[in-house]
């Protein structure tokens, strides 16, 4: 980790020039968002119409990007099964700050049509902070674009700060993740170190669940399945 913490900018500083500069940065940021191209569920079928020529999303500056390291928005298009949720959390932690999460379709809000299902997560807010929800089943491309415009306005006004909430209350999110995935859940990203780096280390960052995480942390191995596992067992 770096030796000196980089503080998050204090928005109510008195200097006019830094305020104007901040506003300019926020304006530029809101006009050139990269959306992560990860189709997580049903709602992804209305994303190509929104991206292509009919309901063109590129005129707003939003382009698909394949790697999470360079993406700004994580679009959770639809329901999230438990298996996908692990990958989404890994992806979210890999994205660079500031980052925004949009929950599309009613399934991210309160379980949607699959509320009785043992395999989908009901409340996405429990596992990662969400900036905006776009309800629908599924929302039309125009609704998706309208939601993205609302996100752009929020970014311009400086109100889309849910990524800070992840660092400030990491213990709460980790607790929910451990409850679903088991106590030995771990990700490669060092959230507490990053919280220090951004100056967002708060009283909710560490707690009982991060203690549990420290007990179970071990060097990384690839998740689950190797190719020849079933052959090995038969020997």
């Amino acid at each position: 980790m770096t030796d000196f913490p980089v503080k998050v900018q204090n928005r109510s500083s008195g200097n006019i020039f830094t305020n104007v500069f901040d506003e300019l940065i926020r304006f530029a940021r809101s006009r050139s968002l990269f959306m992560l191209h990860y189709c997580t569920g049903c709602g992804a079928i209305e994303l190509p119409p929104a991206m292509t020529s009919r309901f063109d999303m590129e005129r707003l500056g939003i382009q698909p990007m394949v790697t999470p390291r360079q993406a700004d928005i994580l679009l959770i298009t639809g329901y999230v099964s438990v298996k996908t949720l692990k990958r989404i959390i890994l992806t979210y932690e890999q994205m660079g700050s500031p980052k925004y999460v949009i929950g599309i379709c009613s399934c991210t809000v309160n379980g949607g049509m699959y509320w009785q299902s043992y395999a989908t997560a009901k409340k996405l807010n429990d596992y990662m902070p969400v900036d905006l929800y776009i309800a629908g089943c599924m929302p039309r491309p125009e609704a998706v674009i309208s939601g993205l415009q609302q996100l752009m306005d929020k970014i311009k006004d400086g109100q889309a700060n849910s990524w800070e909430d992840y660092y400030r209350r990491y213990d709460y999110y980790l607790g929910n993740q451990q409850r679903l995935f088991g106590d030995d859940w771990q990700t490669p990203t060092d959230i507490i170190g990053e919280a220090h780096h951004y100056g967002l280390f708060d009283e909710g960052t560490e707690g009982a669940h991060t203690e549990l995480l420290k007990l179970h942390q071990h060097p990384l191995e690839p998740l689950g399945m190797t190719l020849n596992a079933h052959k090995i067992k038969q020997d």
Binding site: N110, Y118, A121, K123, G224, H230
Partner: protein, 188 residues
């Protein structure tokens, strides 16, 4: 095999088989479990039933049995034949028909993780869909999906700003969140 009449004649000639003709291109056969592989070989070899459409499993907890249904389609005589067998629920074992039909591997793997039925001889009995699931086989009748959901997941809190405005004017929602059917805080 030329047509369906010849097939029906062949099948009724075998013992222990109960044949029922359904609508136009459907046949139903009930066999004892140990005679199924021989029947499948016969159908594949003599009557051209090359296509295994699906293997379905139905859970009958009252009879303490699993019913396995093998749906076969013949390209020669354009008939669909469903072979029903019953397997005891308690050990939940059966033979695999992978050596006769190779698509059976997918269905047997699926039935294994959803119901818990083990197929001996199937090439790969690892989990495919439920790889990170550590509960009971979910498709069994005794597994209560709604109960599992209430235990493991939370529901959304419901207090948006516009509702506060309505409540200030004297309105509100009819059923409070705490009184809803699935509320975890009900009765507290």
């Amino acid at each position: 095999m030329e047509n369906r009449q010849q097939l029906e004649k062949l099948l009724t000639g075998l013992s222990n088989i109960n044949l029922q003709a359904g609508q136009k291109r459907r046949l139903r056969v009930d066999v004892p479990a140990k005679e199924l592989p021989a029947l499948l070989e016969l159908l594949k070899g003599r009557a051209g039933f090359m296509h295994l459409s699906a293997i379905s499993c139905v859970d009958w907890p009252d009879d303490e049995q699993f019913e396995l249904v093998y749906h076969l389609w013949s390209y020669q005589i354009d008939t669909l034949l469903s072979a029903h067998i019953r397997v005891a629920r308690e050990p939940g074992h059966y033979l695999s028909v992978y050596d006769i039909y190779s698509p059976a591997a997918f269905f047997e793997r699926d039935i294994h993780e959803m119901f818990g039925v083990y197929f001996e001889g199937s090439p790969n009995m690892e989990k495919f869909i439920l790889t990170e699931w550590n509960g009971p086989p979910p498709m069994r009748k005794e597994f209560d999906s709604e109960g599992w959901v209430n235990e493991h997941f939370d529901w959304q809190d419901y207090h948006p700003d516009w509702l506060n405005e309505i409540e200030e004017q004297g309105g509100g929602i009819a059923i409070r969140p705490e009184e809803q059917r699935f509320s975890r805080t009900k009765g507290e």
